[in-house]
Symmetry: C2
Subunit: 321 residues, 2 copies
C-alpha cells in the first residue's frame, strides 16, 4: 500500500472487516493454480494430482511471535514458511495458503497490511497463491494458516518409512533460530544474522522434492527440535536413530554466539526448533541429493541417541506449560 494511503494510519475497527480483507487481496497476482481466488464463499485450487496435501498451524502473539522482536512482515513470512515446510517435508510442493487473522480492534491497519505483505511475499516465492481466510476480532493477534500442496504424482514421504540401516540426513540450518532467540532474550545486539534467522526461517524448500526423488524412506521438518522431531519419526517408524556429534558441528556463527551468551551450541543444534530444516532417512547406499548432509544412522530399537548415548538435554517444545 502507498505511504500516502490515508487508511494506513487508521485501525482495523475504523475501516472494518471487509476493508481489511479487501486491502489484503487488492492488486495481488494469483498463480495459475488458483482457479478461483478470494471473494466468493470458497476458493477453488487446482489439484491436478487427484490428491491434495494439507496442513494447518496457529500462531499466537506473545507465544509464537512478538512485535517488539519481529516486524509484522517477518511474522507473516515466518507463518507461511513454517507451513510451507510441512508440505515440502511430505515430498510435495505448496500451491495455496489460507490465512485467518484475529486481532484487537485497535490494531493499526499498517500492521495488518505489513503482515499480509509478508504472507504474500513468502507465498509468491513458492509460486503459491493466498486464496482465502477470515478476519475477526480477538484479544490478542492470532494468525491461523492452512496450506495446500501437490504431490505431482509421487508418493508422499511419511514419517513411518525409516528402516534400520538407513542413513539419517538433514537439509537446512539447525540451531540458528534458537541462537537468535537467545540473543534477543539476552538483549544482545551482536548477532544480527542469527536474529534474522529467528525472525524469518529459510526452510530448504527444494531439498524436500530432491529427497523424495532420491528415494527418501521417511522425512519430517524440524519444528520442535532435531531430537524431538526425529523422535516422532522413530516412533512412527518403529526404529531408533543414532546421531554422530562429529557431523553436527555447529556453524561458526553459533559457536561465537554461544561463547558470548554462555550457551552450548550443540544444545541449540539438537533442540532448537523453528529453523524448519528437513530431516530424512535414505537407504544406506543412496547418494544424498543436493543440500543434504549425513548426520547419523537408523538402528533397531526406539528413541534418539547421540554417539550412542541418550541426549539428556533434549525435549520438544510443548504448547502448554
Amino acid at each position: 500500500m502507498s505511504s500516502t494511503d490515508p487508511d494506513a494510519g487508521r485501525t482495523v475497527a475504523d475501516i472494518g472487516e471487509f476493508a481489511v480483507i479487501e486491502r489484503a487481496i487488492a492488486g495481488r497476482r494469483q498463480p495459475d493454480s488458483t482457479l478461483l481466488g478470494p471473494g466468493d464463499d470458497a476458493a477453488v485450487v487446482r489439484a491436478a494430482d487427484g490428491r491434495v496435501v494439507v496442513s494447518s498451524d496457529m500462531l499466537v502473539q506473545g507465544r509464537h511471535f512478538r512485535f517488539d522482536w519481529s516486524t509484522p512482515e517477518q511474522v507473516g513470512r515466518k507463518a507461511v514458511a513454517q507451513n510451507g515446510a510441512d508440505i515440502v517435508s511430505m515430498g510435495a510442493w505448496p500451491t495455496a495458503f489460507l490465512v485467518s487473522l484475529g486481532c484487537p480492534p485497535e490494531t493499526p491497519v499498517a500492521l495488518t497490511d505489513a503482515l499480509t505483505d509478508g504472507i504474500w511475499a513468502e507465498a509468491q516465492s513458492l509460486g503459491a497463491g493466498v486464496v482465502g481466510g477470515d478476519t475477526v476480532q480477538s484479544e490478542q493477534v492470532v494468525v491461523s494458516i492452512t496450506v495446500l500442496g501437490d504431490l505431482g504424482g509421487a508418493d508422499a514421504v511419511l514419517r513411518s518409512g525409516a528402516r534400520p540401516g538407513d542413513q539419517v540426513a538433514v537439509a537446512g540450518r539447525l540451531g540458528w533460530s534458537a541462537a537468535g532467540l537467545a540473543a534477543l532474550l539476552a538483549e544482545s545486539e551482536g548477532f544480527p544474522e542469527l536474529v534474522v534467522a529467528h525472525q524469518v526461517p529459510m526452510p530448504p524448500y527444494r531439498a524436500g522434492l530432491g529427497a523424495a526423488r532420491a528415494g527418501a524412506t521417511a522425512m519430517t521438518d524440524v519444528s520442535d527440535g532435531l531430537v524431538a522431531d526425529l523422535g516422532h519419526l522413530c516412533t512412527a517408524s518403529g526404529v531408533a536413530v543414532d546421531l554422530d556429534s562429529a557431523r553436527l558441528g555447529p556453524a561458526p556463527q553459533l559457536v561465537a554466539a554461544a561463547a558470548a551468551l554462555d550457551a552450548d551450541p550443540l544444545h541449540w543444534v539438537l533442540t532448537g526448533g523453528e529453523d524448519h530444516a528437513l530431516a530424512a532417512t535414505f537407504p544406506a547406499d543412496t547418494a544424498l541429493p543436493d543440500g543434504w548432509r549425513r548426520i547419523g544412522a537408523v538402528r533397531e530399537g526406539s528413541g534418539v541417541t547421540v554417539d550412542g548415548r541418550s541426549w539428556t538435554g533434549a525435549g520438544g517444545w510443548q504448547s502448554f506449560d
Copy 2:
C-alpha cells in the same frame, strides 16, 4: 471418551498439547477420502475432481460463541456446519476439515473433548474426515476451521452469475438463529426450538448440490443476513434483487417469539445470519429443486430491495465494532 477416564477432570496444561491432539483423533473413523489422516507433517485428501474447493473461518469465544449459551459440543458442531455451508454453496461437497484450537492452559480437558466430539459428529454427518489442525495456548478460546470440498466434475456456482430476470430462491431457515439469540439475550426460557437453532444451525446441505444440478446461476450461503449476503451476490453479479415480502412470511415460531420479545420477525428473516441457509438464483423457467422456495427476482441495477423499496433496517454483521 469414557466417563471413567481420569484425564477428563484435568486441564490441557496438565496433559499437554500432544495429548490434547491424541484425544481428538484417537478412535475416530476416517472416510475413504482421507488418504492419510492426522499424525504426519500434513494430511493427504482425495481430490478426484482435479480441483479442490477450500474455505476457512475463525471463531472467537465471547464474540462468536459463549459457553454459557452453548455446550462445547454445540460450538464444535456449529463451527463445522458454517464451514460446510460455504462448500455446499459452491455446489460442492465437503470432504475434510482441519481444526486449529487456541485455548487457555486452565481449559478443562472435558471441554476440548466435547468440542472435538461436536466437530467430529457434524463432519461425520457429512461423510467428511477431520484430517489435521493444531493446538496452542491463547488467552481466549479460538477455533479456526478449514474445509476442503469436491466439485465432482461440475462447475462451481459463483456469486457472480445472476442475470436480470432470474428468480431468487432460498433453502433452509431464515431468522431462526437471530430469534434464538434474541431469546438468549432476553433470558427468555420460552423458545427452546429457536435457541437450539442458534446453538446448532442446520444448513440445507443437500440443497446446494440440487441447486447446482438444476442450473443455479449464482449461489451463496446466508451467514451475514439475507439482505447483506444477497447484496454481495448483487455486487458480484452487477444486478439488483427485489424480494417479495409475501414470500418471506416468518415461520409461526418466529412470529410467536417476536410478539413475546417485542421484536419484528421480518427483521430477523432479512438480517439474521448464522442459520446458514442457501440463497441462489435460477433462470426464470427453471423448476426449483427440492427444498428451494422462490422469494424474489433479479432486476437490472444494484442492491437489494423488498417490495421495490429499500430495506432501511438492513446491515450485515461486521467483525469490528
